[in-house]
């Protein structure tokens, strides 16, 4: 951030031609989107969407530029749930290991 421009703040740069290819949303993408909407809804209120944006803005430049869009949101959701003590890191790590190691549902 040599000139004060944060890495997510892209307006005015020239970042190349626009790829207009589209694909149907995958189930994973739909689920991540649903988690964002539900967790930031007033009735659940785990955190505000502003906090999710801020969490993404705190990623390393490498992560921000190379992680696919929905992976960024998923990472931010996980971070904020731990930050807000809805989940704790140890139980998340344990469940992740179980999910990754076991049968895929």
């Amino acid at each position: 951030m040599t000139d004060g421009r944060a890495m997510h703040d892209l307006g005015g740069l020239d970042l190349g031609p626009i790829d207009r290819a589209e694909h149907p949303r995958t189930l994973y993408e739909q689920r991540v989107d649903a988690l964002v909407m539900l967790l930031t809804s007033p009735s659940v209120g785990a955190f505000k969407v502003d906090a999710l944006r801020r969490a993404i803005e705190e990623f390393s430049r490498a992560d921000y530029e190379h992680l696919p869009y929905y992976d960024r949101w998923m990472q931010a959701i996980a971070r904020l749930l731990v930050e807000q003590r809805v989940l704790d890191q140890a139980e998340l790590d344990a469940r992740l290991a179980a999910v990754a190691g076991g049968a895929h549902g």
């Binding site: 307006g11 020239d14 988690l35 659940v44 959701i77």
Partner: protein, 216 residues
């Protein structure tokens, strides 16, 4: 097993179906595992239910450009509705039976002879999802977010849009709690058309500003 196993599908058609190999053909990756771990824990702790998640997916799938097209068609056909949309878009679409939240606030931006609106979110991906559904990948991309405010005419040219000489472009950057729906100009030669017929001319891109309504 949830009722939504298998790939979700988009009901509204796409120009190209380039399924990225990483998402459609590879086994679940680290982030898919993370999503499942988080979802399972949230359900176990009673923060969310599986039914809520399913229902939310269904709601989002029901929000699509077809909904926005109905709003635009009505604004074209019905001057009183167009005035109501200008004054309070949420209340106006509510009269059509489309329920949208107070916030973020929907605002209609009308194109007119000599005036063309283009919408972007340079900072992230804010979009009138409550009406149009999930934004296309290009809207969320670095090239679009960076260049829409830098070179709107160049961006429009990439989308195949050339505006009449003397047209002014207004680019709205969605930096706060407003979400913008562009109302494209009504094509000539559609006098007396029904709202259904008019709606078929309204493309998603015309409601973002990267396209025009289709000719009759």
């Amino acid at each position: 097993m949830t009722p939504h196993d298998g790939h979700g599908h988009d009901h509204h058609g796409h120009h190209h179906d380039h399924a990225p190999i990483e998402e459609h053909e590879a086994p679940p990756g680290a982030f898919q595992h993370l999503e499942r771990a988080v979802r399972e824990l949230l359900i176990e702790k009673g923060v969310l239910t599986a039914e809520q998640i399913s229902r939310q997916i269904d709601v989002m799938e029901s929000r699509s450009p077809a909904l926005g097209a109905r709003v635009v068609a009505k604004a074209w056909a019905d001057p009183a509705f167009r005035d109501a949309l200008r004054a309070d878009a949420r209340a106006a679409v509510g009269m059509m039976g489309i329920a949208i939240p107070d916030l973020p606030r929907l605002v209609a931006l009308e194109n007119a002879p000599g005036l063309h609106n283009l919408v972007v979110c340079t900072l992230c991906s804010c979009y009138p999802r409550m009406l149009l559904g999930i934004p296309p990948a290009w809207y969320k991309s670095a090239p679009y977010r960076s260049r829409a405010v830098r070179d709107p005419r160049g961006v429009l040219a990439e989308f195949g849009v050339t505006l009449p000489a003397g047209t002014r472009i207004r680019v709205s950057d969605s930096t706060a709690d407003l979400r913008f729906l562009v109302v494209p100009e009504r094509p000539a030669g559609t006098e007396g058309w029904s709202e259904d017929q008019l709606g078929a001319l309204v493309t998603r891109d015309s409601m973002i500003g990267t396209g025009l309504a289709l000719p009759p």
